[in-house]
């Protein structure tokens, strides 16, 4: 078994009486896509928050490349090689598409306190930003203001910013949300190739995409992982069928 790039051990988080995540231990190995599925309110967002560092767990650990990052804030985890995309696009709407990608590249290269040289004339940053835009198919839109992009294009840009980080692991929060059939199919193909660059922890509602992409699936219900395994194992698992997939299969 390959060594885990990203791993959680016994993560717990409660909001008042609500146990949002309850002893969640999952791992993400090199080269794989590990999908997290579960009904609304199952604790997926809380889990992503704890992995990315936005939420502090009540108990448990998050390990990145074998190192404990539980105490680190969001920005330190990003620097350690964790790139996330947001369920609701978090983009600088007043800026151009290229500027948004350049922000990612700037984060990857560090040294954000340069105040004299124009950032877009910095070839290292610009090249990396444009390469990422090209990969998601947004290079022609680079001079557009982000607010003018379509919803689908914003989702693509969201992925492009994560690409500029050249991370060790991706954490993607519903990247297919609102994309439509064609857009989902295109992104599915893209993520399929991306896994060889860095593994992806994928939280997704689109079951077609999940079943097409995932090497492994973990099912989260009421904050607990009730099943974990390959696509076939999950499809067959009676507990999953009852708790979650029942109506859909």
């Amino acid at each position: 078994m390959a060594k885990a790039v990203l791993e959680t051990k016994g993560l717990r988080k409660a909001f008042g009486a609500l146990q949002a995540t309850d002893d969640v231990s999952i791992s993400l190995r090199a080269g794989e896509i590990h999908a997290i599925i579960g009904p609304n309110g199952a604790g997926k967002s809380t889990l992503i928050g704890q992995i990315s560092g936005a939420l502090t767990p009540d108990a448990g650990q998050v390990l990145l490349g074998g190192k404990d990052v539980t105490g680190l804030p969001v920005q330190a985890r990003a620097r350690a090689g964790l790139a996330r995309t947001f369920q609701i696009s978090q983009l600088a709407m007043e800026d151009t598409v290229l500027q948004n990608a350049a922000l990612g590249a700037l984060g990857a290269f560090g040294r954000p306190f340069g105040m004299v040289r124009p950032v877009l004339r910095d070839t290292a940053i610009r090249d990396r930003a444009e390469a990422a835009l090209e990969r998601v198919g947004l290079l022609d839109q680079r001079a557009m203001r982000t607010a003018e992009l379509s919803h689908g294009q914003r989702r693509q840009l969201e992925v492009a910013v994560a690409l500029t980080l050249e991370p060790r692991a991706f954490v993607m929060d519903e990247p297919m949300a609102g994309l439509g059939t064609e857009g989902s199919a295109r992104l599915t193909g893209f993520l399929d190739e991306l896994r060889s660059q860095a593994p992806i922890l994928l939280v997704e509602h689109d079951m077609d995409a999940v079943f097409a992409l995932a090497d492994r699936i973990s099912v989260l219900v009421y904050g607990r992982v009730i099943a974990s395994g390959t696509v076939e194992e999950i499809r067959r698992d009676p507990a999953v069928r009852e708790a979650y997939l029942g109506d859909e299969t």
């Binding site: 990003a78 996330r84 800026d95 004299v116």
Partner: protein, 327 residues
């Protein structure tokens, strides 16, 4: 060249030509008025780095203006009275040299901005506004109670400070110095907006979550921006004190902090020349409406209300159209 750039160049040309004309026509008062406008512009340019790019609505920037002013006042006061500031453990004397005074003003106001920023940037939104306002008031009352340097009455400096190679007593020469400082600050601001730091700071205003997610710390970006911003406003304070040859606690007053924000908004938020246009317009209106009606603040208040409620984008927005994303 965009319309905004053309407009900016026209403003700059006006700032050079008008005082020169006044100099030739021997109207020193016009030059003094222009100097006041240029210095207030510089103060607002400083604030604009925090507010325009960083989105930090500081209602206490008069603190840095006042610190710059008192840096000048204290150094010059000791120099004119031949009284050292400090004798032990080592001797520090006052000075009448502008470059020295500016250096002290910039360092002192940057330090104050760093400390105030460390405390107030832990919060955001309304808290930040109220806290910066409160710190402003703290410095105001401190200056009033500081009787060694004039307390409530402030202190006068008899002769304007010196700048090597210039006669600062000639209004146009002092004006030239102030304009040079303003142009340098604008150049720096323009470069900063396009730089790595500008990109990151601007994004931290719009989507702090994203900035964290790419590995940058919005708090640090804002703290650096606030410190630079305070330093520039502090330099303006030192110049303002030299223009009036007088410093008093009113340099710390919250009204002044409010006016700095007003300059930026009248001119146009996030525009390089916004603070300049706003400050110049303010000085002109103050002079002309003030000469026509004793209650000019009413008219100014109403004008400001109309601009805030109905006129988005300020004067530059009106003239040069919508702002464009640069790059």
């Amino acid at each position: 060249m965009t319309r905004e750039t053309l407009f900016n160049l026209a403003v700059l040309a006006g700032l050079i030509a008008l005082p020169l004309y006044a100099h030739l026509a021997e109207e020193p008062f016009t030059i003094t008025l222009a100097t006041r406008a240029v210095i207030l512009s510089l103060a607002a340019v400083g604030l604009n780095i925090a507010l325009g790019i960083g989105g930090l609505v500081s209602l206490g920037h008069a603190v840095f203006f006042g610190i710059g002013g008192y840096a000048m006042g204290i150094l010059a006061f000791h120099a004119q009275n031949y009284m050292p500031l400090m004798e032990a453990p080592f001797l520090i004397e006052g000075t009448k040299s502008m470059p020295m005074i500016w250096l002290v003003a910039v360092i002192a106001s940057a330090l104050a901005a760093l400390v105030i920023g460390l405390l107030s940037l832990r919060t955001s939104g309304v808290y930040f506004i109220m806290i910066t306002l409160a710190f402003g008031q703290m410095f105001y009352y401190f200056a009033i109670s500081w009787s060694a340097y004039g307390g409530e009455d402030g202190m006068s400096i008899y002769v304007r400070n010196d700048f090597p190679g210039l006669n600062t007593l000639v209004p146009i020469q002092f004006y030239g110095l102030c304009l040079a400082a303003l142009v340098l600050a604008l150049g720096f601001n323009g470069a900063l907006a396009r730089s790595r730091f500008g990109l990151a700071l601007n994004a931290a205003r719009q989507v702090p979550e994203r900035v964290r997610a790419v590995g940058l710390d919005p708090f640090r970006l804002r703290l650096v921006a606030f410190t630079i911003s305070g330093a520039i406003t502090g330099l303006a304070g030192a110049l303002f004190a030299d223009l009036n040859r007088f410093v008093s606690p009113t340099m710390f007053s919250w009204q002044l902090s409010g006016e700095f924000i007003v300059f930026i908004i009248i001119g146009g938020t996030a525009r390089l020349f916004g603070p300049v246009v706003g400050a110049c317009l303010f000085v002109v209106l103050e002079h002309y409406i003030g000469g026509w009606s004793d209650y000019w603040h009413i008219w100014f208040g109403l004008l400001l209300l109309v601009i805030v409620l109905f006129g988005r984008g300020g004067v530059i927005g009106l003239i040069a159209g919508k702002a464009r994303a640069h790059g």
